[in-house]
Each structure stands twice: as structure tokens, then as C-alpha cells.
């Protein structure tokens, strides 16, 4: 049991340390780590994103708490949540103490110049694997070679209901600027109606 708590702390420390760009940027790393450890299935991480959108608090913290509870109860959640916050805590306190000009440092600027597009690539990869899991009926583990199997049998496995909901949701966001909470409710209602048929 102690080993699990340490493992949760270390894993979420790593996730916290490499969360650059906040929010959606950490989805790929969280999915990779949590699914690899067997703490959650890929589908559960997608549910987790939806729950995070509907409840207060950022996804990063919420997924630490969620994975912690699922594997080690409340104490597990405490270790995981502490782990994810600790790197920011150390770094932000140091920055607050020694410099307010941190972001203007050329080294920081140059590193961010490479990091920002990388984060976009990561989020795109995450969007791609979540879309694949949602739009096709085969079980998917996320970004691996399994993609090729799915596209080989594309006619049999494609899930038109989900694609329809995706198109409706995209239109709602881009054209009508619908709030994320409303959007989740809308797609949930569409899911209940379409999947009952």
C-alpha cells in the first residue's frame, strides 16, 4: 500500500512538473501515465475530462484526485493531489521570492518558443485519440498502432451517432459560443436520445 502512495505521488509530481500551458495541455501526459499504470482505462480518462468541465477546479488537479481515489481511497487522492501541486508550489514560490522578471529571461523565452508549439502537437494528438475512441466502436487504448486496425475495417466500425454529436457540438461552440458546461449537457442529452434508438 505504501508503494502505491509513493507511486501516485511521484507520477503526479512528474505530471505536475511537465504541465506547461495549463488545462488541456496536460491531457495527453495524464492519459499516458494513468492508462500505462492501469489506474484508469482510456475511456475513463475521457469521462474524467467531462466531469472536470462540469465541476469546479482544473482538470490536472481533478484527475489526480480521481485516479487517487480509484486506486488508494482518500489517502491515495491526497498523495496524488499533493504530487501534482508540489512542482508548481516549489517553482512559483522561488519565482515569487527572487524575481518578477522571470518570464522576460531570454532562456525562459527561448524554451517557451519551442514548448508552445509542442503543447499544440500534444493536444492535437490527444484530440485525435479521443476522437478515434469516440467515433469508432472498437476498443481503443489511445495513440498506438491500433489506429491502423481501426482504419482497415473503417466501414464496419464507424460510429455515425458520435460523429453527428461532434458536428452539432462543434457548430454550437464555434457559431454560438456555447458554454462548456451547456455543451456537455447538450451532448449528453443527444447521447441519451440517439443511443436509445
Amino acid at each position: 500500500m505504501h508503494k502505491l502512495f509513493i507511486d501516485l505521488l511521484v507520477t503526479f509530481f512528474k505530471i505536475g512538473l511537465f504541465t506547461i500551458g495549463g488545462g488541456y495541455a496536460m491531457i495527453p501526459l495524464i492519459q499516458q501515465e494513468i492508462v500505462d499504470h492501469g489506474w484508469m482505462t482510456f475511456k475513463e480518462t475521457v469521462d474524467m475530462i467531462a466531469i472536470s468541465e462540469m465541476t469546479p477546479g482544473p482538470f490536472a488537479i481533478n484527475s489526480a484526485t480521481f485516479a487517487g481515489v480509484k486506486t488508494g481511497g482518500i489517502l491515495g487522492a491526497a498523495f496524488a493531489t499533493l504530487g501534482v501541486v508540489l512542482p508548481s508550489f516549489i517553482i512559483v514560490v522561488l519565482v515569487a521570492k527572487y524575481s518578477t522578471r522571470f518570464k522576460d529571461e531570454p532562456v525562459v523565452q527561448s524554451a517557451l518558443y519551442g514548448l508552445r508549439p509542442a503543447v499544440i502537437g500534444l493536444i492535437a494528438a490527444s484530440a485525435f485519440s479521443i476522437a478515434t475512441a469516440s467515433f469508432f466502436t472498437l476498443p481503443v487504448n489511445g495513440g498506438t498502432f491500433q489506429m491502423f486496425e481501426i482504419f482497415r475495417d473503417i466501414g464496419k466500425t464507424v460510429n455515425f451517432k458520435s460523429i453527428f454529436i461532434f458536428i452539432v457540438a462543434m457548430t454550437a461552440i464555434i457559431k454560438y459560443k456555447v458554454h462548456p458546461i451547456l455543451l456537455i449537457i447538450l451532448s449528453g442529452v443527444l447521447g441519451i436520445i440517439l443511443y436509445a434508438i
Binding site: G22, G23, P28, L29, Q32, V46, D47, I49, A50, S52, E53, M54, T55, P56, G57, P58, A60, I61, N62, T65, V69, A77, V85, S88, I91, V95, A96, T100, F102, P106, V107, V108, Q109, Y113, L115, R116, P117, A118, I120, G121, L122, I123, A125, F128, I130, F135, G143, F145, M147, K161, F166, A169, P180, I181, S187, G188, G191, I192, L194, Y195
Partner: protein, 187 residues
């Protein structure tokens, strides 16, 4: 700072950040106006022009905006203890809510209607992430190198099992190299 004064500030910090943690949905950039109102307008802990800098700083270090802002503001207002209570305050509401949901979620999801709802929701989540991607893209990719890095990371993440950690490290190093060469050559 007097001890009594400091104690009052620490308690106030906890309460303010607890409220921010409890009422900010979705996280990220949506929290910024809310945090600003509490910190600058209501409590006058930080000057208006400083808070803009703080938001810029907390976005360029690891972590999430709400928690990083809490730690930074807490430190500026009441030192290390201030940053601890502020971080605790901002995390506690979602910790309690998510812990409760996580305990009951698998039972809840075994109800067919709920399972169907979550099938739909996963398509909705895809749309949310795609739209976030489109928004972030404008501020994050400025030139051809940016497109190249983003494309490489996307492809490597999708077809291999390489950890995102290594891709981020490699991209940071690449950013340093490109900027260095650019300065040397005076581009």
C-alpha cells in the same frame, strides 16, 4: 507585519481562494477575470498592473493558472504560510467534489441511460478539445518552426509510445537552439 494582522490575512487568503476554487468551472483562462476581481478589486492585495505580470508569469511555469496564481499571490501577501493556505484553499473544493464523484462514478455509469449520456459526452469533449486547440494555436505557433515542432510532436505521440515528457524536453531544447542560432546570425 504584526502577528495578528498576518493571521487575519492568512485566514482571508484561505477563504478567498476557497471561493475561487469552488466557483471556477472549466479551469484555465476562464478563471482569470474571477481571480482578478477578488485579488485586485475586492481585496487590494495586488496592484492592477502587477496582476497582469503575475498571470503572464504563472502561465510560463509548470502547473495550472488558478493554483499557480494562488501560490504567487499568497506568497506576496503573507509569505510561505500564505502560499500554503492559498494553494490548499483553491484545491480543497474540487478535491472534495471529485473524491465523492470518483467513489460513486462506476456504479452511476452502469445505469444504461448514464452510459448513453457519456457516449454522447465523449463526442462533446472531442469538440471542446478541438476548439481549444484552434484557439491556442494562434498564440502558440508563430512561424514555420512552430508548425514543424507541432507536427513532429503530433506524429510521434500518435504512432509511438514515447512519453510526452521527452517530447516536451526535446522541444524546449530545440527552442533554445533555434533562438541561439537566430541571435548569432542576427535574423
Amino acid at each position: 507585519m504584526k502577528a495578528k494582522d498576518r493571521k487575519a490575512k492568512v485566514i482571508k487568503l484561505f477563504l478567498v481562494f476557497f471561493r475561487i476554487g469552488a466557483f471556477t468551472f472549466g479551469g484555465g483562462l476562464a478563471m482569470i477575470p474571477f481571480i482578478k476581481r477578488e485579488i485586485v478589486d475586492n481585496n487590494h492585495w495586488i496592484e492592477e498592473e502587477d496582476i497582469v505580470d503575475i498571470f503572464a508569469i504563472v502561465q510560463s511555469v509548470p502547473g495550472v493558472i488558478a493554483v499557480n496564481s494562488a501560490i504567487f499571490v499568497g506568497y506576496r501577501v503573507a509569505g510561505l504560510l500564505g502560499s500554503v493556505v492559498s494553494a490548499l484553499g483553491v484545491v480543497l473544493p474540487s478535491f472534495v467534489i471529485i473524491a465523492i464523484i470518483a467513489m460513486f462514478f462506476s456504479t452511476f455509469k452502469s445505469i444504461p441511460v448514464v452510459a448513453n449520456a457519456f457516449e454522447g459526452i465523449s463526442a462533446g469533449v472531442t469538440a471542446l478539445i478541438v476548439s481549444a486547440l484552434l484557439n491556442l494555436r494562434k498564440a502558440s505557433i508563430k512561424d514555420a518552426y512552430g508548425w514543424l515542432i507541432a507536427a513532429c510532436v503530433f506524429i510521434i505521440m500518435t504512432v509511438t509510445d514515447i512519453s510526452a515528457v521527452y517530447l516536451l524536453l526535446a522541444s524546449a531544447i530545440l527552442g533554445l537552439i533555434i533562438s541561439y542560432v537566430r541571435r548569432k546570425k542576427g535574423w
